[in-house]
């Protein structure tokens, strides 16, 4: 076989990569650059980006969204970890049915989940009726951050639980037995052996959960009124106030912040892995 000269090989590689590069440029880099430029093209110019940090309405919305997403991620991971490990370790009648039911929320769009939160905790909701009967006053939280939090957790648990279960099933059961033989209590086995082994799964599932919560719109839109998360704010700026530049700037920042938080989490986990080794 005739050998190809290094220069020609490079050329060949560039030629073969060109289609992928073109798609990447056309559908990722260009739109992103355009969005970024749009954000600085309004009446305030590049000040739109500064406004996000300076104007309380925008800044508070940004902080609220990040905190909400972080909280949803933490609670979802906790719930999924406990129930996922339980489902992997125990075999009982109806187990597969239970797994199927737990993953059911996957099929619903955010709007339907918002609707379900209203049915549960809305003005005519189940919790309201029960609390009125018991205490004489209706507990209504569907239209607040609490309602949104509940909806997002409900929405996120199935994805995370499946990832945790897949990882836990691959875990060597002899690892836990070895730890126990050395005197570790069940809690110590979980803390020292099981959770570290599941960390990669938590990281990837948590990242997806966080990113989804940052950008979720349907649920927030259904619950509306008193919620000011970033996607809602973008919608308001864009459709109601026709402030396209501000909407673009907010969109860009939403993406950037999400990406930054995920990168931070990843590098933190990576460094702790390296430190342990």
């Amino acid at each position: 076989m005739p050998s190809i000269l290094p220069a020609r090989r490079t050329l060949l590689a560039v030629a073969l990569l060109a289609p992928a590069a073109a798609v990447f440029g056309a559908f990722f880099l260009l739109p992103l650059a355009r969005l970024f430029a749009l954000g600085g093209g309004g009446a305030e110019g590049w000040g739109a980006y500064a406004a996000i940090l300076v104007e309380p309405r925008y800044f508070e919305s940004l902080i609220q969204t990040v905190l909400l997403s972080a909280g949803v991620t933490a609670v979802t991971l906790a719930i999924s970890c406990v129930s996922g490990l339980f489902l992997v370790r125990n075999r009982f009648p109806g187990r597969s049915l239970l797994v199927a039911v737990l993953t059911f929320p996957l099929v619903f769009p955010g709007v339907v989940i918002g609707f379900m939160v209203i049915m549960l905790a809305g003005r005519q909701g189940l919790i309201g009726t029960v609390t009125e009967g018991l205490f004489g006053s209706r507990l209504v939280f569907a239209y607040s951050m609490a309602g949104l939090f509940l909806g997002y957790v409900y929405f996120s648990v199935p994805r995370v639980i499946l990832t945790v279960m897949a990882a836990a099933e691959k875990l060597d059961p002899q690892l836990a037995e070895a730890a126990r033989s050395l005197g570790a209590s069940p809690w110590q086995v979980t803390a020292h052996v099981v959770l570290p082994a599941l960390k990669p799964a938590f990281l990837s599932a948590g990242a997806i959960c966080f990113a989804t919560a940052m950008g979720a719109f349907g649920t927030a839109f259904t619950l509306a009124t008193r919620i000011d998360v970033l996607p809602m704010l973008i919608y308001t700026e864009f459709t109601l106030q026709a402030n396209i530049a501000m909407a673009a700037a907010l969109s860009f920042v939403l993406g950037a912040v999400t990406w930054a938080v995920l990168a931070l989490a990843r590098s933190f986990a990576g460094s702790s892995v390296a430190a342990a080794g």
């Binding site: 002899q174 690892l175 070895a178 033989s181």
Partner: protein, 356 residues
Amino acid sequence: MSATAKSDSFRVEPVPVRLEGCSKTFGNGARALEPLDLTIRGGETMVFLGPSGCGKTTTLRLIAGLESPDPGGRVFFGDEDVTRLPIERRNVGMVFQSYALFPNMNVAQNVAYGLRVRSVERRQRDRRVDEMLAMMQMADLAGRRIDQLSGGQRQRVALARALVVRPRVLLLDEPLTALDAKLRDGLRLEIDRLLRGLGITAVYVTHDQGEAMALGDRITVMARGRVAQIGTPQDIYFRPADAFVAEFIGTMNRLPARVDDGILQIGSLQLPWQGPAGTTTVLIRPEDVRLQDDDGVLTGMVSVAVFLGDRTRVVVDVADGSSIIVDAPGRTSVARGDTVRLGFDPARLLSLPDRS
């Protein structure tokens, strides 16, 4: 290592292990172990040997505390009844086929783990881990990640991790099975020296008869959830209790024979014999059969001759259609098709109880 293994700081009081009426039935109704009474002497290495599914691993897990016996069964360490103690409170050391090293910890952290959960003070912990690693000749690997170790090194780390807590009993579940042949021989010698040096009570599960012979003070041969025979390697090899043990350990020839009027007839050989008249089977090891030029008990034709260096393994087809395997000295020169005579010392013949 043999010298350092005798280091006093790792010497442990040998604790006998006793099983009383221990049977095990799993949730699906399968009986993994028939009721078993067994005593493992303090400081002894007891090997459980048998094919997969014979109950040897179940027995090990009962001793470890990873399984509990069916009601009525009891496990003793010395005079202490440990039946109800979970594994984490039995103070045993365990070594697994899959090594089961913690991938999120390095070598030293793995070895230190048992001391860490026992809340041994930091400085003492470090000292004992250092001593242990030095004894296993792994001091230079202390900071390595587990995925940077070879299989043999991993199993030595697992041994160090199990021994550093000075367990009452060391339990080894097929520790060499995952290694390739050459490493296996080396590590087997190392384990042998270690167990002798420490004088610890050890229970070793394997399906490999070579390992069992080399390591066991005594061997428990198991089949289908029952003990087939308990004895020293010599007992098991030279005086098998039944056909299963005879066939499972080493190679065994079956010689067809007839008994008439208290006389056993094999080929031209006649021996006084006690037992019912009729056809019977007597057994003989390949190394106890001689190839000879004249006389001989049986005559046959060589069908296979394989030179193995220290010996030549010859398969001889005899008149009645059966084949007899002979281990002749390495310098024997026979070829396929040669007619040979087979002789043996009648004292080397084995007979088995009728139930076989």
